[in-house]
């Protein structure tokens, strides 16, 4: 069982629901990073059959196993997909030195319309400089229904994140996030280890919910003056810089629906976006004599 102190809090979960990713810089200790790099170089990071419980993957001695079994990593996994999820697949992603172009933008697997979600751990075991072509992600893209490389045409999107980080950084993404490996303009190989995990329990209140109070959930007044910036409502209501005026509003509704799904609170709303649409009175007004 993961200690409560290692679980995510509600604001981190709201950030994940809104943006589709969480980033933990320099989370993994240097000795594990070096051991993972040795295993990658030796080609000994062994995969498992899809559907294997994660607890049965990477038995010791395994540097990747040490990384995954860190209590901080276990807390992240538990908060998002619950205890002992299933191993889906892994990949050691490599960007060759001085390559001619980046990978095209894409979503992994196929179009996926579930409210339940998988996560992918993206682990950077060595420093990634701006020239090395770290993974690019598009925050808030995870609800868009697209199929794999159909989005390859988009070269740049306002607000895209180009991963530049120190060794030991872990990024956790929703299965729907748009991403790609960027062009590596350095003379060094660039690696990223990825593993996809499937939940085996209903994803509801799996994180540390101590901060999920009535105050946190309180609806904010529309055009009500000074806004908070770091409560659940504000995090879920913040538009991405690439959102279109119209579809950006639909994205807030997508977030409300996922927040309701993972909290079980069917009355939750951001401002009044969904409540307004759900208001369909059926009671008839008595005729006045």
């Amino acid at each position: 069982m993961v200690g409560k102190e290692f679980l995510l809090n509600s604001k981190q979960m709201a950030f994940f629901v809104a943006k589709g990713y969480l980033r933990f810089d320099e989370l993994i200790p240097e000795e594990i990073n070096k051991a993972v790099m040795r295993d990658i170089d030796a080609g000994t990071v062994r995969s498992q059959p899809a559907g294997t419980p994660l607890s049965q993957c990477y038995p010791a001695p395994s540097a990747v196993g040490e990384m995954i079994r860190l209590p901080q990593v276990q807390g992240i996994i538990h908060s998002l997909v619950g205890p002992d999820p299933l191993f889906d697949h892994q990949a050691v992603h490599v960007r060759q030195p001085n390559e001619g172009a980046a990978q095209h933008l894409h979503g992994d697997s196929t179009i996926d319309v579930r409210m339940h979600f998988d996560v992918q751990l993206m682990y950077f075991p060595h420093d990634v400089t701006p020239e090395m072509g770290g993974t690019l992600i598009v925050p808030g893209s995870h609800f868009r229904r697209i199929n794999e490389m159909d989005i390859a045409r988009y070269q740049n999107i306002v607000g895209q994140i180009q991963m530049v980080c120190k060794a030991g950084t872990l990024m956790v993404v929703h299965h729907g996030i748009w991403h790609c490996g960027r062009q590596n303009k350095s003379d060094q190989m660039r690696y990223m280890f990825k593993v996809r995990l499937n939940p085996t329990v209903r994803q509801r209140l799996l994180w540390n919910t101590d901060d999920l109070t009535d105050e946190t959930k309180k609806q904010q007044t529309i055009f009500g003056g000074a806004k908070k910036s770091d409560d659940v409502q504000s995090i879920l209501g913040q538009q991405e810089p690439w959102f279109e005026w119209g579809d950006g509003r639909l994205e807030i509704i997508n977030r409300i629906k996922l927040w309701r799904f993972i909290t079980g609170d069917d009355n939750f709303d951001v401002h009044y976006w969904l409540s307004r649409l759900e208001n369909m009175p059926e009671n008839l007004l008595e005729a006045v004599e």
């Binding site: 001619g100 172009a101 980046a102 990978q103 095209h104 933008l105 690019l136 609800f143 868009r144 229904r145 697209i146 159909d150 989005i151 390859a152 045409r153 988009y154 070269q155 740049n156 999107i157 306002v158 895209q160 180009q162 790609c180 960027r182 062009q183 810089p241 690439w242 959102f243 279109e244 005026w245 119209g246 579809d247 639909l250 994205e251 509704i253 997508n254």
Partner: protein, 91 residues
């Protein structure tokens, strides 16, 4: 006789108005002088679609306004406000 090649600029705008803000973009250069790829720039080449016109780009396709299919009114997918522009350049 000068040989001309097409340079294509694809702009995704915040709405169906050509003078609205650029949200995403792509450049394909038929002259071979420039090679653009995913994630190669964080700043849009123009603030709005109209700014691209002022710089000599010609619009060759406007996005059609298509009502949502029944049942998909709340579904988000591709960026819809896609304007395709071109320049012809000598090689």
């Amino acid at each position: 006789m000068a040989q001309l090649r097409q340079k294509v600029l694809v702009l995704y705008l915040a709405s169906s108005a050509l003078d609205d803000q650029v949200r995403s973009w792509a450049v394909y250069d038929g002259t071979g002088k420039e090679a653009h790829t995913t994630g190669d720039d964080n700043e849009p080449p123009y603030k709005t679609g109209l700014d691209a016109l002022k710089d000599g780009w010609r619009v060759i396709q406007f996005p059609q306004l298509i009502p949502p299919y029944p049942g998909l009114e709340f579904t988000t997918s591709f960026q819809r406000h896609e304007f395709i522009l071109e320049k012809l350049e000598e090689v």
